[in-house]
Amino acid sequence: SDADVASDKDKAEGTNLKIGLIMLQGDTYYQGIQTGLEAAVKADGGSVTTGLSNNDPATESQVAQNMIQSKVDAILMQPTGGDASIATMQAIQKAGITLICYGNCTDAALEPENSSGVIQSDNTALGTGTGEAAATYINEKLGGKAKIAILNCDIASACKLRKAGFKKALEDAGIEADYVTDQEAYLADKSTAVTADILTANSDVDLIWASNEGGTVGATVGVKQAGSKIPVYGTDISVQLAEMLLDADGILQVTTGQDPIKTAEGAYEMAKKAIAGDKNDPFAVELPGIVYDRANAAGVNDFIAASK
């Protein structure tokens, strides 16, 4: 079965393709990418091979090597970092395999010679989306001044963009922000402990911003557990986060989610086009983030319904 090679006709029509998918790690977002892609590819009679880089460019290069050897028609790859992954991306192209960059493509990964197409959430916008909501809150409730604690996931380059986006949104809204601490916390259990410690050391913190799903869950749980009411602004969406947005405790306020299914489908379409010999135009697509707000329960409920 996997020995089957797509015929020229298949390639032209985009059927029976063998697609390689490289993800950073396992989490809700990538799960969405994987399911979305598998559904779309299967509908065309193709197959998907998935690999994890675990955020390690070296592992990424090895996974890519192995996929090249298994003669996939295209590789959809979320690079561990634009610059860190450049050599791997070039190696894939050199092997004559179509490459689409998805999810987070920065720096060199944005160059047209390094891939056949780029589709990603606008990570800066993921930060800005939440940042704007936070700015509104600060302006209305805190008189435009706030002490803010950040839980970062800077090990991934996308997170740095999110942070920049968040800060920029506050700056644009004229907020006088004091970032009292910026701690690494992107796994749910670790973030809970870190949040508790932050609240102890900075009892005057006005709000917390967390840069990914695990961090947002941990921050919300940590605040609740400390018996505090400090609002949490988050990033990413999952069923659990959606339920937290609906929770009466009123801790998690707003989070900006990506749309993994759309990203996956879009990337696949771009791959098909490139395989068929067409140029992708536009070369780079940016998908907006979706802002989920406690104030808009309907939108949150829609997400939950769609996830079940």
Partner: protein, 334 residues
């Protein structure tokens, strides 16, 4: 060999009291206690929040999430074995609970029992591999470290599974008389395991097996059973840790407890246990646990750069071990 011992030979103490006194004087833990006190003094001076009741309780709660395992790990290390799969085991337990409760509608108490039983079986399996086939536990649990984590991700597809049960959450973030429930678990595990280690036949057998497995076997101690049981106990504590985390986070997660094995082993070693077996105590491990928990808490309170935190952590583990080695030093090589 050690000169001190020869002296002891010359004037063997003549009463149990004198012996007890001598032992206290030579207590290996004294160096560690001094280091711990020093850490507390430094952190108290550096941060006004450190010594507050709230913060100390918070340290205890966070300590629970690796301390419960550390106590059991002490028994494992005293028996001459090791378990580096505890983090993956905790993640698997959390995932299993999520899958049982959320996907299959299993009632919570049943699910909890199932998860703990599964963990016990896996732990016993690793112990049995050691006991019956001589596969070193380092290797067996290295393999489990990968396999269990993979299994957890496979089960949940790496989605967190939100659990909806206020009663259950209580175990993660409730309080009894103002004390966080996980801290109570920590204390409970401490009590149970210290009684086991000091007062029961099984507990003393662990020291016998770790000190001289052959002799223990010849005396009629069931060495295999001891090895299997300690591996089972540590797996159960890993599962309990996973369940407490699940209750705290209100969801079954395959991403939790990364590096749990590091903290649990480090606490045990800092507490004075020897990797070669036969030596170590749960009281020592308590200090090791508090040491690490206070250090992690203190570094966040002081907003230390997270990367630098890692460096400090590594350096401090090394320093603590050096202090210990220094005090109990027999002879280095040659």
């Amino acid at each position: 060999m050690a000169v001190a011992d020869v002296e002891v030979l010359q004037k063997v103490p003549t009463s149990p009291l004198a012996a007890a006194f001598q032992r206290a004087k030579a207590w290996d833990g004294i160096g560690l206690l001094a280091v711990l006190v020093l850490l507390y003094v430094v952190l108290s001076l550096k941060s006004p929040y450190f010594l507050t009741t709230d913060n100390q309780l918070s340290i205890l709660q966070n300590a629970a999430f690796f301390g419960i395992v550390a106590f059991a790990m002490t028994l494992v290390i005293v028996s001459g074995e090791i378990d580096i799969s505890v983090g993956s085991m905790a993640a698997l337990s959390s995932s299993m609970l999520g899958v049982f409760v959320v996907n299959h509608g299993v009632p919570m108490p049943v699910a909890v029992v199932l998860v703990i039983a599964a963990a016990a079986a896996i732990g016993a399996g690793a112990g049995a591999m050691r006991a019956y086939f001589g596969v070193p536990t380092f290797i067996a649990t290295l393999a489990l470290y990968l396999a269990l984590k993979g299994l957890a991700q496979l089960l949940t597809n790496n989605f967190p599974l939100p659990i909806d049960s206020e009663r259950f959450f209580y175990w993660g973030d409730g309080r009894v008389l103002g004390i966080p429930v996980p801290a109570l678990y920590l204390a409970g595990t401490f009590l149970v395991l210290i009684i086991i280690s000091k007062k029961t036949v099984f507990g003393r057998s662990i020291y016998a097996v770790g000190g001289n497995a052959k002799a223990a076997g010849l005396s009629g101690i069931n060495v295999r059973r001891v090895k299997i049981l300690v591996m089972m106990i540590v797996a159960i504590t890993a599962a309990i840790t996973g369940l407490l985390q699940t209750a705290l986070l209100a969801s079954g997660n395959s991403t939790i407890a990364v590096g749990l094995e590091f903290d649990a082993i480090a606490a045990t070693i800092i507490g004075g246990a020897a990797l070669s077996g036969g030596k170590g105590s749960i009281v020592g491990t308590v200090m090791g646990v508090l040491f690490i928990a206070a250090l992690l808490n203190g570094m966040v309170l002081l907003s230390v750069n997270p990367y630098a935190q890692q460096v400090v952590r590594g350096a401090v583990v090394l320093a603590a071990v050096l202090v210990n080695v220094w005090r109990t030093r027999k002879s280095s090589l040659e």
